[in-house]
Subunit: 247 residues, 2 copies
Amino acid sequence: MKLSLDANEDIPVFRQVAQALRKKILTGELQPGQRMPAETALASENGIHRSSVREAIRSLEQQGLLYREEGKRKLFVSTPSTATLSRKLVTPMIMEGITFEEIWETIRALDPVVAEAAAHRRNTANLQALEENLERTRAALGDTDALVRLDIEFHELIALAANNRVIQALRLPISDLFYPSFQAVMISLNAGERLLTAHEKILQAIKWGEADEAREWMIRHLNDFHKGYELASLDIRQPAALQASEA
Amino acid sequence: MKLSLDANEDIPVFRQVAQALRKKILTGELQPGQRMPAETALASENGIHRSSVREAIRSLEQQGLLYREEGKRKLFVSTPSTATLSRKLVTPMIMEGITFEEIWETIRALDPVVAEAAAHRRNTANLQALEENLERTRAALGDTDALVRLDIEFHELIALAANNRVIQALRLPISDLFYPSFQAVMISLNAGERLLTAHEKILQAIKWGEADEAREWMIRHLNDFHKGYELASLDIRQPAALQASEA
């Protein structure tokens, strides 16, 4: 396989090789699942050292663009998963001491727009999944753990209905980090009925295509959570660290 | 180093080891920069196979929690960078054919809340950096490339002033993906004056601590971009792919 290399001496050869291969993958010339040409072939066809090819391949492996079965030599082109990559953000966020307030503010930014978009784009399957979630929420009002799980699912289902893959991916690490703080609020307050009402109003607005109403109820619902945090005498400026690392 | 392993037979030993080490890093018992104990020591002290330790270490390396200098054996604890990890999302997003509209909608969700937060939390250094950015924007009204770069910087400076590390990290891949579409709009429209006015209004509101005003001007500014896309007869439902892969 012939690569178009820059002959730019400022850029190390292995980086030029990595860049050229990456472009072939991004433009679809190399397809996911396809076997990669051998190191020696790539080196001789392009008149470069085998070590440059090896280093380029290592870099693409780290980016998740090449995949090798455990203990084997054969390399395949692969698509790194947005979801897997995004979830990896949880670890450094914990290590940096991200606070509950930073997480809450991010959801406060995303979810009202998500609710608005869901009112425009939802389909029958989305609405059915949301109805079923509400059904289970009604049945779980006494069970804090179940309520927390169902609430997180409700918000994820709305993100699905909004049909925006960027927001869906970015919400994943936030959702994971939000979980423990949310549980703390739900345990100390008896907030089930209030949560259920908000969910019902949001779903109704999404169903009827009332985007403004869906957004406004989502904002009210998220502000309720913030208030709940204060009422439960929890400090929203605490790092999300310990609880999340135990999750 | 003694690890508290589960003795749960359903979870492979290497995964238990990885989990235990990860916890020590997340809780700060193992600090970034610290040398990792040797494989053999970890294996014998915990009565487990060396291969389990090796596989656990490989998994932590992939998570960016352990670092090894090129070609050397010594392993050190490291903090994976939120920014580096987040930027890696650009590649799978291009491969999935993310559209400009999905990217725009994500910024439309984040930046109004960011502007609001900046009006509450900005400090003198933030304001000075923003003033300087405006100064350079006024001087660059004829230069499309410079305007695009300065606009992206303006939004990043506001995210900095908002002091929310989660949003700062999540904005990075979006900013990278947004660049080419933004450039297309700026080239086909003469939108410099309009952009400058919006930036002036946003900065003034942030300076005076008027959060509502900052949010509303940010929304107007972003809606302008969306309209600009239509006026320039560009299709906002196109994948961001090709342009971004060439960037």
